[in-house]
Structure formats: structure tokens, C-alpha cells
Amino acid sequence: MERPLTQHIPASGVALHLKEYEAVGGYAALRKVLQELTPAEVTAKVKDANLKGRGGAGFSTGMKWSFVPANVTGPRYLVANADEMEPGTFKDRWLLEGNPHQLLEGMIISAYAIQATQAFVFMRWAYKDAARIMTRAIADAYAAGYLGKNILGKNYSLEMQLHTGVGRYMCGEETALLNSLEGKRAVPRAKPPFPQVSGLFGKPTIVNNVETLSYIPHIMNNGGDWFKSLSYTADGGTKIYGVSGKVNKPGAWELPMGVTMRELLEEHAGGMKAGFRFRGALPGGASTDFLTDAHLDVKMDFAGVAAAGSRLGTGTMVVLDDQTCPVGFVHNLEHFFAQESCGFCTPCREGLPWTEKILYALEQGHGTYADLEQLEMHTKLLGPGNTFCALAPGAMEPLQSALKYFREDFEQHIKEKKCPYAHH
């Protein structure tokens, strides 16, 4: 089984240095691209592989690049979204800390494809090790001629900068990230115009996830058919999956796209801890709908998880066990989302704290059936399109599915006027 993204990351997790990376074929793809391919050919190759964004939305990467207008002069930007802050998600950290040059190489090739003049790694503040490693890697790449003026002696130049954030989940949303990179409040922007047309400083910009960009060198080296062959399903490639919660071996693994939840849970995560029963899981981070044991055979690719009523999201699963209160679980999530709302649009700014307060009241034994109706109302009205960006709709996914799958728990809180799990 191939694990192109993580095969060279040592078990210790210590980062691959430039020489080590080169020794395993690093920067060969870049060399080849600059020698042999036009920017359009690079984009075509990525399109051909049908690489879908690994940040959560799953949009075709090649397609995204192709929206950058060809005839606009002036600066263009490429940004690696390393602001991994989706609760339950820790996959990009692995790549950032373990193989920084793979990301850089992917970024340089991607930047070349869109003819970007400047690239940024937008990294979340908490990733202190990753930031240190990336700083060193960028310096090494400059020193080796992979960055800067006339890369590898060719007629392409690129500057690269690391930006570490100051803490806002919103920065994971690409347009809010761009605002933050411009030194502003990380509020999302209206689309259209899309960042490809008017992005950073109003210039054409592509924002891609770390995992997505890390794949680019491999696609350049091995081609689209190879990429597709890695997967179990129609969505090509491998995917970094993760599991956290009361399992025996929480962790992250690079696996063929489309492994089942069962395989993930039982084979890789080692099954539930003794004394705990699986009740459900958020398959792709905090902003995805619960799946339950009825869904254990769902294939974890974009289409498969969607068909089961959730989203693949980041592919990192948070497990709900039978001794954790689902109401408390969802309360924790809604607290997070309410706190991280940027405060720009009404439904999100006002609706999320309301749901948080209802859930807290339920946990405290003060909830009513009317409160459940209020929660239902929010899950319906905080939908995509109703809010300015996807934060609140994402926040409603675990809530609506919890109300669906764990309704009896909610009602028990009301009937018993207390949290039945309170002894924990």
C-alpha cells in the first residue's frame, strides 16, 4: 500500500531535512516541471488527477486554479492554508512537522502553475514546532535555489513567507484568511469575486490546504492515473484519516481514499477502549454530521460520506462513546462555534450563542421541549446561503444529527431535569 504523503516521515515525527528530502526524490518534480511543463500543463495534470481539496470542501484543485485570469498583470499569490483549527483535526500538523519540503515543493509547483509571484504559509499560532521547522525549511529552500529569483536557473521567481496567525477559527475560511493576511479582522468576504480573481490585496490568489498542496509533487511525478489508482473509490489518492476519542490507539494514518469507518476504527484506531461503546462519530471534524454504528461500512470518501448524510470534511473523526453525554458533546461544539463566529452576519453571531445557551440549559436540567424546537429551528435556518459563510451551517451539522440520532438523550435531560451522564 502506497503512502506517498507520509512514507518518508520517520516514526519519530522528526522533520525531514532538505538533504534527506532530496535523497528520497524531493524537488525532482519541481525540476521536471520547470524544465518540461508550461503552467497550463501543470494545471491540466492536476485537473486530470481530479485532486479534490483536502481542507474540507472537496473542490477540484485543478479547476480552482483554472479560474485565475490569464491576462492580468501585477502580483499573484498562492497561500497554503495551514490554519488547522477544526476541532478534532490534527492531520496537517503531521505533514507540517514531518515533511515541510514536500509542502514547499508542492507550493512552488502550484505557484508556477498560476504564475504566482509570492507564496505564503498561513500557519496557526499553536503549531510552534511546525513554525520553527517551516522557517528552517524555507531558508534551506532559498539557499538551495528552490525559492527566490530564477528558481533552478529558470525564468520563474517566487518569494515565500511564513505567517503565523493569532487565533481565529475563521482564518481557516479562505477569504477570512486573506483578510487576516492583509492584517485585517478575519471576517469572510463575499463571493463573487472569488479569490482567484480578487484575493490577497485584491490580486488573483489561490488558497489550498496543506494536504492538497503536499500531493502536487507526487502527481507531477506519477501522473493522474497513478493518483486515481491509489484510492478504493472514484475520489482519487490517499487521504490522511485520523481518529480521536475513547479509542485504544488514537492517531492519524494515510490510507487509500474510501476506507470504511469500520476499518478506521477497528483496524487503525484499535477499537473502542475497554468499557466504552461506540455511539457515533463526527467523520470529518467538528462541523460534520454525526454518523452512527449504522454507518460503519460507509466508505470514507467525498461521495460516500455525503450519501450517508454527512461530509468527509477533514477526514479526522471524533468518536462519541456511550459514557459521554451527547448533549454535553454538542454543547462543547456549539460553544466553540459561538466563540469563533466573527460577528459579521446576524444568524451566526446571534443564533450560535442561543443554541449554546439552550444546550447548556439542557445540561443543567433546565431545558424544555420548546428548547428542542428552538434547536431544530436553528438547524434549519442556519443553513448554507442563509448565513454569510459556512461557519454556522457547519456548526449546525453535528447539532441536527445529534437531535436526530440521540433524541432520547435530549428528552431524558428534560424529563429528568438533569444530565443523566452527570456522574462523569
Binding site: A190, P192, P193, S198, F201, E340, T346, E350, W354, F388
Partner: protein, 897 residues
């Protein structure tokens, strides 16, 4: 034009608009908060949600925000869709979670957009039962009250204050449901346009503090359409009264003039009307007290008016009617313009340029549409504030036109457009004697003496057209500046050249005229804007009269015994010592004015003249636009319009032509007939006989309350309401309920729309003209085919002199205008008197900030504290003009220190 289908009816709508604008323009009710016609759309509040359907077969549709959706041909839209309605109702539910529901004690007093929208969506049951978050409020200065707990976070305040008006000290803080709109630390809001927040805010966060201090609900005001008296731009206002006091000024939308906004002098400078300094009764000094009233005072005046020995002094702050009647009463040869020599020269020159030249005067809205702006010798923020706001809009707008083609979004997509535009600004060039607030927007801003400004202006005009005189001996820097400006102007389509009274220099106005005319010669559709000092400076100049100085000479030659002074303080017009001589010489001084002032001290007879709020009249603004203002309330004192006093004097005198005139319509028609330059002013508004459905237009809304009770402490029976024989307005709530003619709208209200937002219902389209056109009539039009005249006298360059300082006038939005300083809020903002020096001059004179500088002017001594400002032309000394306590004669001129 696209055809769209809304709830199964088809409508033709204007291309390029968003769906919300289209719906509102069609008269449909769709609630909104964050969108504003002048600010565009950002999609924050989510209140204007509607459903759109792909096609006829699409029954599900999807919710979109109508403000963010461009209209498309064949679009299918539903406002009434139950999902959309439910969502809109819930948006209010969300907004109301933290709203304090303190409507009973809120200054909005029901004239609240939030309340209207709440009712419109049907949200009537509050089901949020948790605690509310609360905020601390801030002290924001004398103009605005801050109550953050009412905030619904629509972001309109920061978008207006920061993005639109360029304010620096109001912003949004924190995040999620803690966002806070205010200052970084509490303190006086710095923007000269801050008062607009009270109208921009859809609820009671920012409210008019002056109204709060004498609070009344807005529908309990008696209001009338009026014109601002604060400067020469003639912004349209609505003034409201209750219990005999003027209580509030709000914007009166005029798409050609001030649009949606006012400056703070205009909005807050009204309280002089309520001043304890008001002259309320006629007074006759040195005579029996029974003379002081009614017929006796008129007869007394009649006796004092000796033929050939009576002169009249008009006023740039009095109505055209009052000035014209005075002129006719005393005779043309005895009528003097009550303005300083400097102002007289400047305004008459500006008028001449506009009347005789081929280039038209720009309205405020035309100014906002200019593509290159050149400002010569004006600190607009202080001399004509709303023109500064227009220039700001021009500068913001120009790059927008470039980016909409690259990012493919319409101009109303405010946030997206601003992102694409970044810091790009349209070409603005400023030459002034010191820095101005607009400098930050300028491609080039240079600070030099008025004569040097004129030289560069002349230089620009010569570069544009060989016909214009060459400037000899120009410095290299001057040449470079002129070349840069000329280059930008050459490529313009509709450039705007601004000059006026601010520099105090005729040469500057002439150079502006030359630039505009040279552009016109090149076939470029150039515009001119000349600032004028007072609300009727232009009207007075058009009426014409002799120079004030010659009135003084006449008195000194014993050729004037009696002077009738119309709404004027001659101590602001003449050198103090000249004024003293004048008053010593004349035997009778008959003053008609509002407030006791130094001239009143010299008067032998004083007649209480109505302010704009107690008068009907006409003003002509800086572009030559005549506009009518209506009386707001009838004072139960002897106060009446100056023109009415003067007509009564004329009647007592048995004046040949004036005796027959009694009412406004007669006076206006008389002026229109006798002064060709004012032709058409009798059509500005419908006359007194105008009726709709047989009814007058009420000054009071139908919800006006307390009418029978408000006088009960005096008399239980309701007094007979005052009649208004002069206009088609009634002083009560009786009258026609529907929409009045635009020129006389006393208040904006429509069913379901109790706030100022109801103006939508009076417009042909959102942000567009009022239904039957915006009020006002331009009296000056250029001669497009006339020979382009031009000025040839280029001044010598100004060079600092060691023994002298060049006194230059500096104007202040708060302080330089005569009447507004009698308003407590404005008075608080007036700077202390000072003299401004360049650091090098201060060093040479061995003075520092705060030191007192002593100097002489015309043999008189002055002492003022020094302010050092290194942007000031070296060798110049800036003097604040018109400030209470700063009496100074003409500037610019040389003074000895």
C-alpha cells in the same frame, strides 16, 4: 431593461441594480438593515432574504440575500414565500436576543427602522429567554448619544463613518456576539459628519444628543422643509419644533445637492434659534416705551426715514426676499451689500465667472461624479464641508470604475469593490496655504501662499492652452506641480476645479477660472465649484448693491442719517474702528435681527427678525441654485420675517410699489418680475393657494400628540392654530395625508416606515430623485458658445519678508459661522483664538507654542497665542476667521509683528 417576476407578477426593473433596490424602487416592502443606498451592500444583516427560483418548474427555490443579488432578466423571485418570510422573521428574533427592548425610553421614540422592520417581518413573540449581554456606553461629545445595548450590529456606522466619510476614530471592536461599535477610548467624535450616524443607525445606538436635551418624539414635531443656513452650499434640511423651540435638524434628501447627508455644523448649528440672546420684541431706544409695539413703531420708523438720507444694508445670511424688499424700500442707490470688502470682491468675481464664462457650476452631486479634482486655496472641510464629502466620494469612485471590469462585480458590492480597489484613489490635487483633511486622499497636496497657488493655477491653464497667459519666473517645483496637474486634467472627462472664499484671494479664483476655461477650450466638460461664505452670499451678490465701504464713506460725509441694517453685525464686516466711526455718524440705526450682537448695541430701533425656522424665504447657493425654505413654527412673539417688517414699514411709508405686497407669493412674484436674474423663483414651490384634494399640506404628522393638552397649563380650551397665509402648508396635523410636492415635504413618513428610511417611498428609485424632481432651480447657466474670456494678470510670486507676516484667513467649521456659534454643542467645539506660524518663523520671532504674539494691523494692536504648524507657508500667519473674540480685518494682507 430586465423583466423580473416577483410573486407571480412581472416588473420591468433597471439594469445593474440589486434585487433589494429593485424591490424597494417598485414600492414593495422588503426589510433591510445593512444595505444603504449611499453605502452599497455587504450582506451582513441577512434581513432582506428572498427566494429565487431557477425557472417556472422550480418549486423549491433557494434563499438568497436580495441586496447581494444582481437583477437578471427573467429572474423569478418571491418575497412572500413562507420560507423566506420565516427566515426574515427569525433574523429579527436573533437581532432582538440582546436588544434591550427599551423603546419607551429610547430617543428613536418610534421613528425607528428596527421597530418598523420588526413589525414588517411579523416578529411579535420573543422566545429567547436567556440573559442579555450588556455593554458600557461611551461619551462621544456634544452631538451624539451612545447606547450600545441597542445595537443590532449592522455595521452601517463604521461603513459610513470610516469608509464613506473618512473618519478615523470610530470602529468595530472584538468579535462574535461581543462586537462593539464606538471609539477606541471614549471622547469627542472627530469627524465633521458624525451626526449622520443618528440617521444611518437603524436603531437608537447613535442618537441626536441635542434632541435628547429637549426631547420629544419625532412625530410630535412640527416640521417644515428648510435649507441649511450654515454655509453657502444650501443643503436641504428638515427642521422640527415643539413647544416653541426648535429641536432637531434632519437631512432632507435632495439627489442633486446633499443626498442623504449633512455636516455637523448644519445639523447641530440650529440652537441659536432657541438662544436666550434672541430679540423677541421691537425696541425703541431714546423714545417713549409705547412706541415699541405695533403700528407706533412702524410710524416711528417712518418718521426717521428721511428721503435721500436713509440707507439700507443687506445681508448674505438673510433671504432673497428680505434683501430685495430692503433694496426697493430704500432705493437702489441707497442699498449696500452688508459684506466685507474681501468677501464682496470674491463673491462678485465668482458670480461673474459663472455668469459670463462657458463652464458650469457643479452641484454637490456632480462634484461627487468628477473624475479629476483640483482644489485651489480651499480647506473644504472647514469652508464648505459637504463639498469635501463630495470630493471624497469622487476620489473613492474613480478607481471603482476601473476594477468593476476586472473583478466583474457591480459597484454596489461595497466590500468586494473596496478589496479590489485597495488604497487606489482618483486624482485629486490640492493647493492650500496649509494642510487640509483632504490631503490624505490627494495624489498631490502642496502648501503655499495664495499668490503662489494662483501662479500655479495660471501655469496649469497655460500648459492646457496657449491662449492663457504664461507665468514667468516660476520655480522648478512650481513648474513640476503645474505640469503634473495639467497632465491629469488633460486626460479627464469631467474634471472639477474648486476655489472660493477660503484663500481670500481673487487671483486664485481667476486662476481657477482660467484652468476650467482652458479645459473647456480643449473640449473637456469641466466644472467649477466656488465656495461662498454664507447661505445667501450668492443671492445677495446677484441682487446687487453698493459696497459696504461706500456706505461708511457716505455716513462719514454726513449723507446718511438713518441706516436700516438687515440681519447683520457690521462688526463682522468692517474693521472695528471703521464700524465705530460709522455708528458715531449715523443718527438712527434700525436693526432687524435674531440675536443681540455688537451692532444691536448701537441700534436705536430693533425689530425682532424671524430666523429661518420662523420665516419663509429663498436662498441662492454657491452654484446659483435658488431654494425655498419654509417657516417651521409660528412664534407667539412679535418675531416675523424681515421682509414682512420691511413691507409693513413700506406700507406705513406709503411706498409706491411695496405697499401692495403682503404675502410671500406676492413678494416672490414681484422679485421674479423686477429682477430678471431671479426669473423663475416664483415656481420653486407651489404657491399659497395650492391644495391637494382641497387640502393644505400639514406640518404635523397625523400621530402628532398632545395638541389639546400642551397649552393646558395656560388655558384649557385649545387655542386656535395659527394660519399660514403665505404657503400651502398648515401649522397643524390637518391636511392632505398623502405625498406632498417634493419641494415642500415637511417630513418623511410612509405607512409602516416611521424612520428616515421612509425616504425610499418618496424617490423614483432608491437613491434617485424625489418623485416630482428635487427642489431648487439653477439660476446661473454658462454660456457654452460664448467667447472664452480669460484672466491675464498673473500675481507676483509670494516671498517671505523678514519684517512682515502675511496674514492669511483660516476657517473653522465650528466657530467661523456667525449664528451657529450660539449653539452650546458647537460652542464646545470652537478652537481657542490663535495665530498660526511656521516653525521657522516662530524661531525667528522667538516664540513657541502658546506664547502670545503681538502684532499690528491698520494701526490697531492684537495679541494672540501662537500655534506652530510647519505645513503653513513660511512667512505667513494664519488667523482664525470669525471666531468669537477674534476681531480682525482683511486677510490676506501684510502685517507687522
Amino acid at each position: 431593461m430586465p423583466i423580473i417576476n416577483i410573486d407571480n407578477k412581472t416588473y420591468e426593473v433597471k439594469e445593474g441594480k440589486n434585487l433589494l433596490e429593485a424591490c424597494l424602487s417598485l414600492g414593495l416592502n422588503l426589510p433591510y438593515f445593512c444595505w444603504h443606498p449611499a453605502l452599497g451592500a455587504v450582506g451582513a444583516c441577512r434581513q432582506c432574504a428572498v427566494k429565487v427560483f431557477k425557472d417556472e418548474d422550480d418549486k423549491k427555490g433557494r434563499i438568497i440575500m436580495s441586496c447581494m443579488e444582481p437583477v437578471k432578466d427573467q429572474q423569478r423571485v418571491s418575497i412572500e414565500d413562507s420560507d423566506a418570510k420565516k427566515f426574515r422573521e427569525q433574523v429579527i428574533g436573533w437581532l432582538m436576543t440582546n436588544h434591550p427592548h427599551d423603546c419607551a425610553v429610547c430617543d428613536e421614540g418610534g421613528a425607528c427602522h428596527l421597530q418598523d422592520m420588526t413589525v414588517m417581518t411579523g416578529h411579535s413573540y420573543r422566545d429567547y429567554h436567556f440573559t442579555k449581554r450588556t455593554y458600557n456606553n461611551q461619551y462621544l461629545g456634544p452631538f451624539l448619544n451612545h447606547e450600545m445595548n441597542r445595537c443590532i450590529q449592522c455595521y452601517r456606522c463604521v461603513r459610513f463613518y470610516k469608509d464613506f466619510a473618512g473618519g478615523k476614530d470610530l470602529d468595530v471592536f472584538a468579535a462574535h456576539n461581543h462586537v462593539y461599535f464606538g471609539r477606541q477610548q471614549e471622547g469627542v467624535l472627530e469627524s465633521e459628519f458624525s451626526g449622520n450616524l443618528a440617521e444611518v443607525c437603524p436603531t437608537g445606538v447613535f442618537t441626536d444628543k441635542t434632541l435628547k436635551q429637549h426631547y420629544t418624539r419625532k412625530w410630535d414635531l412640527t416640521s417644515a422643509a428648510s435649507v441649511c443656513q450654515g454655509c453657502g452650499l444650501g443643503c436641504n434640511i428638515i427642521a422640527g419644533e415643539r413647544y416653541g423651540a426648535l429641536r432637531q435638524i434632519t437631512n432632507r434628501f435632495n439627489s442633486a445637492v446633499n443626498g442623504y447627508f449633512l455636516c455637523d455644523r448644519g445639523r447641530y448649528g440650529y440652537e441659536f434659534v432657541n438662544s436666550p440672546q434672541r430679540i423677541k420684541t421691537p425696541m425703541v431706544y431714546h423714545g417713549p416705551s409705547e412706541l415699541s409695539n405695533g403700528i407706533p413703531v412702524l410710524q416711528h420708523i417712518h418718521r426717521r426715514m428721511k428721503p435721500g438720507k436713509t440707507i439700507g444694508i443687506g445681508s448674505p445670511r438673510a433671504s432673497l426676499e428680505s434683501n430685495a424688499v430692503l433694496k426697493e424700500l430704500v432705493g437702489e442707490e441707497n442699498f449696500y451689500l452688508g459684506v466685507s470688502a474681501g468677501d464682496h470682491d470674491l463673491v462678485s468675481l465668482a458670480l461673474k465667472v459663472l455668469q459670463q464664462g462657458p463652464v458650469r457650476a457643479a452641484s454637490l452631486q456632480e462634484a461627487a461624479a468628477a473624475d479629476v479634482v483640483l482644489i485651489l486655496g480651499e480647506d473644504l472641510t472647514n469652508t464648505a464641508p459637504m463639498l469635501a464629502l463630495s470630493v471624497r466620494q469622487a476620489v473613492r469612485r474613480i478607481p471603482v470604475e476601473e476594477v468593476i471590469n476586472t473583478v466583474h462585480v457591480p459597484a454596489w458590492q461595497d466590500a468586494a469593490i473596496r478589496e479590489a480597489v485597495q488604497e487606489n484613489k482618483g486624482p485629486l490635487y490640492i493647493l492650500n496655504v496649509q494642510q487640509t483633511k483632504l490631503d490624505e486622499l490627494a495624489k498631490g497636496a502642496w502648501h503655499t501662499a495664495p499668490d503662489n497657488i494662483a501662479r500655479i493655477g495660471f501655469g496649469v491653464s497655460h500648459l492646457l492652452s496657449d491662449k492663457m497667459p504664461e507665468v514667468t519666473g516660476m520655480s522648478e517645483q512650481g513648474k513640476a506641480i503645474a505640469a503634473e496637474i495639467a497632465e491629469a486634467l488633460k486626460h479627464a472627462k469631467n474634471p472639477l476645479i474648486i476655489a472660493g472664499y477660503g484663500s481670500g484671494s481673487e487671483a486664485v479664483i481667476k486662476s481657477a477660472a482660467n484652468v476650467a476655461w482652458a479645459l473647456h477650450d480643449l473640449g473637456i466638460d469641466a466644472m467649477l465649484a466656488f465656495t461662498v461664505p454664507e447661505c445667501n452670499s450668492m443671492g445677495l451678490e446677484m441682487l446687487g448693491g453698493h459696497r459696504l465701504e461706500s456706505a461708511v464713506d457716505r455716513a462719514l460725509n454726513n449723507e446718511a442719517d438713518t441706516v436700516i441694517i438687515l440681519e447683520n453685525d457690521l462688526y463682522r464686516r468692517l474693521n472695528q474702528h471703521r464700524a465705530e466711526h460709522f455708528f458715531d455718524k449715523v443718527q438712527d440705526v434700525i436693526l432687524l435681527d435674531h440675536l443681540y450682537n455688537p451692532t444691536a448695541e448701537k441700534a436705536t430701533i430693533i425689530l425682532p427678525a424671524g430666523t429661518f425656522a420662523e420665516s419663509d424665504g429663498t436662498l441662492v447657493n454657491n452654484e446659483g441654485r435658488a431654494q425655498r425654505f419654509f417657516q417651521v413654527f409660528s412664534s407667539n412673539t412679535a418675531v416675523q420675517e424681515s421682509w414682512r417688517w420691511l413691507l409693513q414699514i413700506a406700507a406705513a411709508n406709503g411706498h409706491a410699489t411695496l405697499s401692495s405686497l403682503k404675502h410671500l407669493d406676492e413678494v416672490v412674484s414681484h422679485i421674479a418680475v423686477t429682477c430678471p436674474v431671479f426669473h423663475g423663483i416664483d415656481t420653486l414651490t407651489p404657491g399659497a393657494g395650492f391644495r391637494i384634494a382641497g387640502q393644505k399640506v400639514p406640518r404635523e404628522p397625523h400621530r402628532y400628540s398632545g395638541r389639546t393638552a400642551m397649552q393646558a397649563n395656560i388655558q384649557v380650551s385649545e387655542p386656535k392654530p395659527p394660519e399660514d397665509p403665505d404657503t400651502a402648508l398648515s401649522f397643524t396635523m390637518e391636511g392632505y395625508r398623502g405625498e406632498p410636492p417634493s419641494s415642500m415635504i415637511p417630513f418623511f413618513w410612509a405607512p409602516g416606515w416611521n424612520s428616515v428610511q421612509s425616504v425610499n417611498k418618496f424617490q423614483t428609485e432608491t437613491g434617485g430623485p424625489l418623485h416630482d424632481g428635487d427642489g431648487g432651480k439653477r439660476l446661473i447657466e454658462p454660456h457654452p458658445n460664448g467667447q472664452t474670456p480669460f484672466y491675464t494678470e498673473v500675481p507676483e510670486p509670494y516671498l517671505p519678508l523678514t519684517e512682515h507676516l502675511l496674514l492669511v484667513p483660516l476657517y473653522h467649521i465650528y466657530g467661523s459661522e456667525e449664528l451657529s456659534v450660539h449653539t452650546p454643542g458647537i460652542a464646545e467645539r470652537i478652537p481657542a483664538p490663535y495665530i498660526m506660524l511656521h516653525g521657522e518663523d516662530a524661531k525667528r520671532l522667538q516664540v513657541a507654542n502658546g506664547h502670545r504674539l503681538h502684532f499690528m494691523d491698520n494701526g490697531h494692536h492684537y495679541t494672540l497665542p501662537v500655534i506652530i504648524n510647519n505645513t503653513l507657508q513660511q512667512g505667513a500667519a494664519g488667523i482664525p476667521v470669525g471666531l468669537p473674540g477674534v476681531q480682525i480685518a482683511e486677510a490676506p494682507q501684510l502685517i507687522k509683528v
